[in-house]
Amino acid sequence: MIKNSFDATVPSTSASTSTSNVIETFGISKIIDGNTVLRDVNFSVRKGSVHGLVGSNGAGKTTLLRLLNGVYEPTKGEVRVFGQLLVGDAAAIRQRVHLVSADGAFYPGFRVQDLLQYASLLYEKWDKTRAKDLVTALDLPLHQPIRKLSLGMKMQLRLAVALASRPDVLLLDEPTNGLDPVVRRQFLGLIVQEVAGTGMSVVFATHRLEELEAMADEISVLYQGRTLLSGNLEDFKTAYREVVAVVGAHDALDDRASANDSLPHLGVVAQHSRGKIQSFIVKGDTSPLRSYLLQSGAVHIEEQPVKFEDLFRALMEKEGYTRDAILLS
């Protein structure tokens, strides 16, 4: 299912029958302290997929994750998990949908082994062997008080607890903050392994686009509480192309093409110019734009796949979200 206000839709290759979705939301909104944090979000997670969630700061990613395991209740709309409506006491759902986030509090005074002991009583499907293996793999200090652990070590502990509780869905909120590159790779590898081995589904909110591109098969882009784009990542990458044109000495193209209203009809969703070089992000067939550019005096035209980062930036710019470089004197 594709929900998309970004100019057009991309056909998804994945079947999207409701039975293959472990999580679905229908028009959910969330108002916190009078602020609309999420607005009419439709979102789904296929079984066994890794769904990446990106967006600007304050886009509503954390709120969405909290709605998915019943920490929050939506102000409007429905959340369905394994086809069941999520209402009231969500303790049963939290056995199967596990949220890992940096602001999850620990009991004061707990040591690492106390938390593992506590979790083993809390989670019905607790896997003792798995917990032991994870403690070894992640080199967790069993006798240390948790409050003395570094940010990254706390995150690894949360992941160990999450994976040992054998959830069907793992929700991750910025999980790799504070991890060094070596640990980050191991951390992500553990998640991939679990998905490949057990068919666990993952929703993964991150600001690191390179992680998202490597890990995710589906993505959603959130901006100010709305979904701008949602669907299969590979499909997006093949649906959009970047066309780079070099204009002649008199930059005839600049005058004509820059302010041309017909560009959107040529499939252009974003454009940039730097001196004599103009680049366009195009959805679908690029040949109309190419012939238009040739007519307008382009001396050289190149085409290449679009980087997800550029697509993301184009989406944000279209929404008016930009940050220009500022020289501070």
């Binding site: 991939v192 490949a196 992680e211 490597a214 995710a216 098969d217």
Partner: protein, 135 residues
């Protein structure tokens, strides 16, 4: 690691894996009959979605670069016989034409271009000898 993946590159990751495996086989880093990591192992190692790795393996299998033997694992092909050989030789020929065009614009004559090709091929052959000595 012999397989280097850059998630930020504009090329899809599965293509990078396909190219990496093909290059490793051509360079002799992977030998015919050698066992490859499973999809799950490689995905874990690269921290890349397993569907992406599976897709790359499927295409490599279809191209007969590797062979998937059910229950035993994935191996580098002993008899690599890719499909559509003729068509792909044509494609290869076409891509040589684009190098010629580039050479022309760099001011290289046809002969200078040929010399360059010969040099690259002989360097490749030298490497081959070193590899054969090691076997």
């Amino acid at each position: 690691m012999w397989l280097d993946i850059n998630p930020r590159a504009s090329d899809p990751i599965y293509l990078q894996i396909i190219r990496g495996v093909k290059s490793a086989v051509a360079r002799g880093l992977l030998l015919p009959g050698e066992k490859l990591s499973s999809v799950r192992e490689l995905a874990t190692e690269l921290a890349v979605n397993h569907n992406t790795v599976a897709r790359a393996y499927q295409e490599l299998d279809r191209d007969k670069v590797i062979e998937v033997i059910v229950g035993r694992g994935t191996f580098v092909s002993l008899n690599p016989k890719p499909p559509n050989v003729e068509e792909r030789i044509h494609e290869l020929q076409d891509s040589i034409k684009t190098w010629l065009i580039e050479a022309h614009h760099l001011g290289l004559s046809a002969n200078e271009f040929l010399d360059m090709v010969k040099r690259v091929v002989s360097e490749w052959n030298d490497l081959e000898e070193v590899r054969n000595d090691k076997k």
